[in-house]
Assembly symmetry: C2
Amino acid sequence: MENFLYDIPTKVYFGEGQIAHLPEAIKEYGSRVLLCYGSGSIKKIGLYDEIIRLCKDHQIELFELCDIEPNPRVTSVNEGVRLCREHKIDVVLAVGGGSTIDCAKVIASSVDYEGDAWDIVLDKKKIKNVLPIIAVLTLSATGSEMDHGAVISNLETHDKIGVGHPDMAPRYAFEDPTYTYSVSPYQTAAGTADIMSHIMECYFQSTPGTYLVDRFAEALLKTCIHYGPIAWKEPENYEARANLMWASSWAINGLLKYGKSQSWTVHPMEHELSAYYDITHGVGLAILTPNWMSYILKEETLDKFVEYGINVWNIDKNLPKKEIAEKSILATREFFNSLGIASTLKEVGIGEEKLALMAEKAAASLSNAYVPLNKDDVLTIFQNSLV
Amino acid sequence: MENFLYDIPTKVYFGEGQIAHLPEAIKEYGSRVLLCYGSGSIKKIGLYDEIIRLCKDHQIELFELCDIEPNPRVTSVNEGVRLCREHKIDVVLAVGGGSTIDCAKVIASSVDYEGDAWDIVLDKKKIKNVLPIIAVLTLSATGSEMDHGAVISNLETHDKIGVGHPDMAPRYAFEDPTYTYSVSPYQTAAGTADIMSHIMECYFQSTPGTYLVDRFAEALLKTCIHYGPIAWKEPENYEARANLMWASSWAINGLLKYGKSQSWTVHPMEHELSAYYDITHGVGLAILTPNWMSYILKEETLDKFVEYGINVWNIDKNLPKKEIAEKSILATREFFNSLGIASTLKEVGIGEEKLALMAEKAAASLSNAYVPLNKDDVLTIFQNSLV
């Protein structure tokens, strides 16, 4: 186990109706709030009206940034920064999924920086102060509600880049599972795949002696495997929605990373896909993950896959190791398929044409991955994922 | 799953040599420090000298409260309070195991209260301000380094009582596994039993829908079962000491309680034993736990024991449920025995004479337990534990 500084400061109001505590959380930091949200689904479920009412009752002044995109763009960030400055905002309140929260994080981090917010994305050292962020979660997926990272897209440059800073962690997160009742089966599946990918990025590392965190990771994976299909079939199953929501936060809030190498593989590869094709992030991850697994399965990684197969998928431990490993990869693919997720890039409209370009960009950050990959490796994984 | 407010604020410097960060942690809060410690084992391992040196190098002034007892007494708390007032202390620094940290917590909570510190133990509402607490851990057991509770003994009244307050959580914990290298096999075993008991107190609850936290609990139990015997045999095995240390914090920092009923059973029973006989807390827990399990095993609890047996002890899931449950209890007993822990109260010098009195006192807080127990129930469990 490597040395680390554990620091997860976000307080979480978890459960149905906890939004009632929103005004007191906001008032710890001020009363002028930038409300950030996306397509308007928060209006359909009544959450928007509830927040307006709560804030009005407590003399909290709201200003709005809406229409934040599924892969949030730096143009939205810049608009949010403008609003914060114009209205002397005290608190940035993100209501939505990871995209909205990510956007809010970079807004909050850029208000005190004079240049374009994209500079902040490219270089977190430019961050001076970060406005307090509060997140109200409506989609279990990215875990942005409890971590200190954000991913922002730049459509001009076809870049989708992550940035992190300790002060970007939301001060409070509100996690009410009923807000996810209206999430479609498609988005439920994609969110579950995203959560699982966060866990696997941490799980598949070679740092020795990380037994406890690896068991935590398996606990989280089993939760996704148990409840993903239930939420997919029964959107208003509170227990399933609650466990998936709590899992989304713990998959990426840091617990699984502390003490381990932290170099991710599938996310950097997928970020290229969604930067160029704007596909659903979780779907991209689900397509790539089993192909990445098959590609890196070899003598040195065999034991890790055996552990994964036995502990996560309950594969018979008496089978030959190679067979357990292969069955675990197959189980991963079949699980994603069972949630109706596409198996190939073709199905989501991605062809051969940009694979080499995307592979080259992805490989730039994969030299220290669990199994280091160069551009040819990534291109092969992309090609194996095509059809 | 029940609603909750997640709030675990402690930052943890984990790993060998992290003590180097102690001065910067202290300096966030001031430079006048009350150093609390116990029997002097921190001198034997060189930690005392290291802290003296670090503080001297950084102009931090230390005042000392030593000889804090294994079951810390309110007399020590009052002495610490006196020192804090006399020397205008900014930070209470606890260096030791749970007893020292618990003592420091109640000192820090009592400085602004004019009466006897025992009043604070009996009524946390009397707590006004709590001085910042920093913990340097030398024994993996109570988890006090990352939670906001403390247990204090009063030898005059034969009371051993827990008190908790959100501000009692240490601001920083330093967890260096090498500090536990010198912990004896006996204390290593008792500490492991204590960690496991914290987990089981949370695990054995009847709140429905807590799948994820129950898997987290199993992850922690498996870690204790895996590494307890290794640390017992190889005291300087870093991996074992590190995993047990991190497990001790997560067993009780709140993660396993959020969303569940929180009424404990075995701890309140054991607190009576160690209040009257001053036995080692973890040993008392290990003696009582299997007897408590056998006593509460019935139709309504059967499924929970089956889950415990299969997921924690790898008992064959194809066996009849009753057999799995009984095997799980036997495995628990045998595990504690394998660490050299006594199986009976007689072995630790406890006879029949005070059982009824202790049972009556313990039962006062057990009416809402996982399986509610009255004084006759507790007396039976005590009697079953005698020989």
